[in-house]
């Protein structure tokens, strides 16, 4: 039987970072990825039908795409639909590349606010890893943001904030509210062999320029050159264990549909908080009847997705927000930290976002309106190029009722049982979003919007999949240790957003990759003492 030192499941954000660092350290690495190498020439950005394609083949929902490499997610009973992408680079292929960090208080919500749980590490401990991953991915931004502690500046200057960003920045200046040019993992200048952003405005359907960071362009080429093996079209069904309770490898189905087994000293799970929970639950055995690593009963539970609202502002003048990067033009942390007088705990981050091209303007808006017939042209002209949107991410407090389970009778194209998610927006989140919608409306009115609309909860917003294998120091109340190692199976580690004890209120990819780098270097530093099945 084939055997490797480290087996990685998933070639996305965390898997790519781990593979690169392990290969650099001389470890023998095999990564199994259910999807394929993305073909940049197939990205729809330059085609006139790109918005049409975004609603199907390039949708973030695996249920909408329905590709063979996707697995279905039963989410009909969930307030928010799960979004992801299967392929080298993972969901980074379709993400917006908004690249904020957690704030210090996010690591201490229990101590500071009496909610959620403290993390088993703090901001200062993670900061050096943030700085290294910022450089590796090529982050564009501006240092000195008073919403964060001091630290190294991003490696590249900020992207232009555009006419809409400037308009809203001036409004916040008058209001005395925080704003800052947003950090984005999109190149503002050529960097490490990659081109700068070409401003197609279609980041979320794949970046044809390679300017948006994703591990297929930032990490995998070097990892493979250093010896890492990456197998695409390889879908893992379960982690295998021995009588001593240690992982021995994994069973998977290869690109030709043949079932295979690969042995490994260490298994790293990097399949996102739905995929990793699914795999752990599917790896149940008489030795681990409730799923692998699940003696706490928390595998799959505490799913957090960041309930997402947005406020749209209409302006008389053109702001042409459809030009340039999609992630965020500017951000505001004015209402991020807890103020108990507001009637809820924790807060939200705002990202000023573009509002799409002509088809998006014509079809029902995020707020649900569309106009056909004689008024249609006026409707489109009012929206296209004359709107901006505050995207509001609220802190999502952990709740064990929000969870990933195995869906009875549902399977992927290989017959592997597929997941179901249950997710409800909690009372605190609802109050938090309502407050921030009102404040964001004030922001856009101050910026000169003659009309605003809002969407109180965007269903297709479940990109930020977090919390289903939380880390901690107590095996009774956490699934992994502070370095992602399963308490129950010490040669299996979780590298993705599953380990988040709480969600914070920012886009999580920068934190996921910083944590993955930290966990990988812990593995490398302790490889001599690593318990293995061999």
């Amino acid at each position: 039987m084939e055997h490797t030192e480290v087996l990685i499941v998933g070639a996305g954000a965390s898997g790519g970072v781990a593979a690169g660092r392990l290969a650099e350290a001389g470890c023998r690495v095999v990564c199994l990825e259910q999807g394929h190498w993305p073909d940049k020439s197939s990205y729809p950005a330059v085609r006139p039908t790109y918005e049409l394609e975004a609603r199907r083949r390039w949708s973030g929902s695996p249920n909408v795409r329905g590709l063979a490499e996707d697995y279905p997610v039963e989410d009909s009973g969930s307030d928010v639909a799960a979004l992801m992408y299967a392929g080298v680079g993972g969901s980074m292929i379709l993400y917006a590349a908004d690249w904020p960090r957690l704030l210090p208080s996010d690591f201490r919500t229990r101590t500071l606010d009496g909610v959620g749980d403290d993390w088993p590490l703090n901001y200062a401990e993670l900061a050096p890893f943030y700085e290294r991953t910022d450089r590796a991915f090529g982050v564009a931004g501006l240092g000195g943001n008073p919403a964060l502690p001091d630290g190294a500046d991003p490696p590249l200057p900020p992207l232009p904030i555009g006419a809409g960003g400037l308009r809203v920045a001036r409004a916040h200046d008058r209001l005395g509210w925080h704003w800052w040019p947003a950090p984005n993992a999109v190149l503002s200048a050529p960097y490490r062999g990659r081109n700068a952003c070409a401003q197609y405005g279609a980041c979320m359907q794949g970046c044809p320029e390679g300017a948006k960071a994703s591990t297929d362009v930032t990490h995998w080429p070097e990892a493979i050159a250093a010896g890492a093996q990456l197998r695409t079209g390889a879908r893992v069904s379960r982690i295998l264990t021995n009588p001593a309770g240690l992982a021995t490898g994994a069973e998977y189905v290869d690109a030709d549909g043949r079932w295979q087994v690969i042995g490994a000293d260490v298994v790293l799970l990097a399949a996102n908080a739905i995929g990793t929970a699914r795999l752990l639950l599917n790896s149940a055995s008489p030795r681990f009847p409730d799923g692998l690593g699940n003696s706490s009963g928390l595998v799959g539970k505490r799913l957090m997705v960041h309930p997402f609202a947005n406020v749209l502002g209409y302006f008389d003048d053109r702001v042409d927000s459809y030009i340039g990067h999609v992630g965020a033009k500017i951000v505001s942390y004015e209402f991020y930290e807890t103020d108990t007088s507001r009637g809820f705990t924790r807060g939200a981050k705002w990202s000023l976002a573009p509002t799409g091209g002509p088809l998006t303007s014509a079809l029902p808006t995020r707020a649900g309106t569309s106009t056909w017939g004689p008024e249609h042209h006026a409707h489109v002209r009012a929206h296209l190029g004359r709107t901006v949107s505050w995207a509001i991410f609220g802190e999502d407090l952990p709740d064990e009722e929000n969870r990933v389970e195995i869906a009875p009778g549902l399977a992927d194209s290989s017959g592997i049982p597929a997941p179901r998610i249950r997710y409800r927006v909690g009372e605190n989140s609802r109050a938090l979003l309502d407050f921030n919608i009102a404040r964001a409306t004030e922001s856009l009115v101050e910026a000169g919007a003659y009309r605003t609309e809002y969407e109180s909860l965007m269903r297709y917003s479940g990109w930020h999949l977090l919390g289903t294998a939380r880390m901690g120091t107590d095996p009774a109340t956490s699934v992994t240790d502070p370095y992602g190692r399963l308490h129950d199976v010490p040669n299996v580690r979780v590298l993705d957003g599953s380990v988040f004890p709480t969600s914070g209120a920012v886009n999580p990819t920068s934190t996921i990759v910083a944590l993955a780098l930290r966990a990988t270097e812990h593995l490398i530093a302790n490889r001599r003492d690593q318990r293995t099945a061999a």
Binding site: L52, A140, G144, L166, G324, H325, G357, P358
Partner: protein, 138 residues
């Protein structure tokens, strides 16, 4: 994937009811929404063909307004597919984009601003002067 003549003939008046001429813009049929643009749409979204066929079967012979109302009532998926096919074809047409002044999806290499206007206007200076807004936590 090609649409039948029957489908095109059915689609043309519905498309014009959704997007008529006006405000300096052409009607949907005038830019080929039921013709070449439909071919473009179905090549990008072959999944729509099935739903359009169902929409045709449900509303054949009805006046456009009646057909649109009936579809919205009877089959929301088919109704949504009709909107996507009509608007998708219309707004993919270069004449329509030009008339709208839409300048998106063009490769324009980004150039970081040497001295962005927000710095020149002192906007960030005042954010910094207001001091840190995060809570300390060990």
């Amino acid at each position: 994937m090609t649409a039948t003549l029957e489908l095109r003939d059915w689609l043309r008046p519905l498309a014009d009811a959704l997007i008529p001429a006006g405000d300096g813009m052409p009607a949907a049929s005038a830019v080929g929404v039921a013709d070449a643009q439909l071919d473009l749409v179905l090549s990008a979204r072959p999944d729509l063909n099935r739903h359009l066929g169902r929409a045709l079967a449900l509303t054949a012979g009805m006046a456009p307004a009646e057909a649109l109302a009936a579809l919205a009532e009877l089959d929301r998926t088919a109704h949504g597919a009709l909107l996507e096919a009509v608007a998708g074809g219309y707004y993919a047409h270069p004449q329509v984009r030009e008339l709208l002044g839409y300048a998106g999806q063009q490769p324009v290499p980004v150039r970081p601003e040497d001295y962005p206007e927000y710095l020149a206007q002192g906007l960030l200076e005042r954010v910094v002067e207001r001091g840190p807004i995060y809570r300390q936590a060990d």
